[in-house]
Symmetry: C2
Subunit: 315 residues, 2 copies
């Protein structure tokens, strides 16, 4: 009989679900609402019910379900314990045993950013590599470290928190982590806008960004159009990102960096501005790392969750 895997990506607003073949082909995907009321107590039950409905709809017997993988927005230990997921209202929670008891199939859990990294390695921008660093440039900056095909969760679930590498002593603004001068303060979407705001305030140079509200996308569009001030912003952006990724490479020396998240929609130009600084600041012996853009977008999480359970089944 054909075998199937389910991948689940739990977000603060919606839960994304996917049905996969063991070869990593996405058969179907759908979403349900994340019910956060009552400390998020309904979420696991809702996921179980949705998986049962999908299996019934597709005429899949549970004996043919290899398992369910689940990505959660918070620290998750190697044994699948969620330490906390504030966006869901969860404290410490043993979701793998909870969901496994309801469905009667193996369940594996991981942190959402780490799981998305695994998805990009399996079927996305990092396909074919197994020493990879995924970099998510979104509202914040996240990372996922993969060594020999396995996620590095870290001792307290904080593996890959590369957005909080300290890069700048003279940063007056505070980061979300209460630090000052973290990579995230420059390389996130908010960071791009912040750097641009500073550049605009520092001079009277003309720019399409002047005297209006603008987004990170507007800044990168202006860079592509040759706006001189926006190009200065891109240089600053590239320098901080290059420095941060060089530090990461000096620790784990990956084969490839896969760059995703909203800011990465700017495309190859972002890598082009970062690369010279990366090369300047990385240890020469680690200079050969490849850089690629993520390709799975919002589906990376369901792919990676499915891969979590695939790995256990395959072994």
């Amino acid at each position: 009989m054909a075998k199937y895997l389910f991948g689940v990506d739990v977000g603060g607003t919606t839960v994304k679900l996917g049905l996969f073949t063991p070869e990593g082909e996405l058969v179907d995907k759908w979403e349900i609402v994340t019910r956060k009321e009552d400390c998020g107590d309904h979420i696991i039950g809702d996921i179980a019910e949705s998986i049962r409905e999908e299996a019934a709809k597709k005429d899949i017997a549970f004996a043919d379900v290899v398992g369910v993988g689940i990505g959660v927005p918070g620290p998750v230990t190697d044994d699948g314990t969620v330490l906390m997921a504030a966006n869901l209202g969860w404290g410490e929670r043993h979701i793998t045993s909870e969901l496994s008891e309801i469905l009667g199939v193996p369940v594996k859990a991981g942190n959402d950013a780490n799981v998305a990294a695994l998805g990009e390695m399996w079927r996305g921008g990092g396909k074919g590599y197994d020493d990879m660093v995924a970099v998510t440039l979104g509202t914040g900056v996240g990372g996922g470290i993969i060594i020999n095909g396995k996620i590095v969760c870290g001792a307290t679930g904080a593996g890959g928190e590369i957005g909080h590498i300290h890069l700048e002593d003279d940063e007056p603004d505070e980061c979300g982590c209460k630090g000052h001068g973290c990579l995230e303060q420059y390389a996130s979407a908010t960071g791009v806008v912040r750097i641009a705001g500073r550049k605009l305030a520092e001079s009277d140079k003309p720019s399409v960004l002047r005297d209006k509200d603008f987004s990170a996308k507007d800044v990168w569009d202006a860079v592509k159009a040759g706006d001189a001030l926006a190009v200065e912003v891109a240089e600053v952006y590239g320098e901080y990102l290059g420095k941060g990724l060089a530090a990461v490479a000096n620790v784990v020396n990956p084969e490839i960096f896969v760059i995703g998240g909203g800011v990465s929609r700017a495309g190859q130009i972002l890598i082009d501005y970062m690369k010279p600084y990366y090369d300047r600041y990385v240890f020469p012996g680690a200079r050969g790392a490849k850089f690629a853009l993520a390709t799975l977008g919002n589906d990376a999480g369901i792919y990676g969750s499915a891969k979590l359970v695939y790995d256990t089944w395959k072994d």
Copy 2:
């Protein structure tokens, strides 16, 4: 029959060898000269001969030898290929198959710094942990990253090159890697002396270090004696080391840092000066890492090499 392991640590001047039980007890240790002439072509043969002699002396049959582990001063890939070991005169070299063919037992190889890290995890300062970062503060600054009990070699053997994390844009002096502002330029033995030299030149403050040649040990002795200028040096030292280790923790989130190398002989005081800066610059979720001093000294390499082959045998 009792089983035995050999651990070998190849240095530029001497080769250290150790005979171990599978429980990691050191039965005997000795050294031979590293013959570097003829592009280091005699080294492997000399090691094989020395191991044969030891086995004969101890009446150990080769059928009872689980294998030989070997640490080499250069990048070594996961499959045991030495890419280069300039200090030995070696280019790319398949030493595991060379030595295995001579002795007829399994051979495993690793980079010397990484192997020493593994030794400290097995029987030294990191005993009982399996997510560990070893930091060697010597002439240079090296590192060994261990995740789930295994060394992170990296894609090009440059895993754990934490001494070259860039920390300072305004550093005029050049690092050995041709960069400027690497962790190694501050946290190594040379780094301590360099910082002290600058502090002495900046002011006329009295200090026991003034108007004489001094070593890193002299600086730390002065710190312990309450020398005000030396204490300023320790603060600068602690800040750079704390920043560097915080960056490492934001990538791999280890349970423990084990600090070794010549400078670490200063003892706990070194950790005390570093820790407040580490706490300031690390992501809050990774703040709980422990810090310990290495305990195996120059024997870490033979312990770790033995552990390399122990791991394969045990599996």
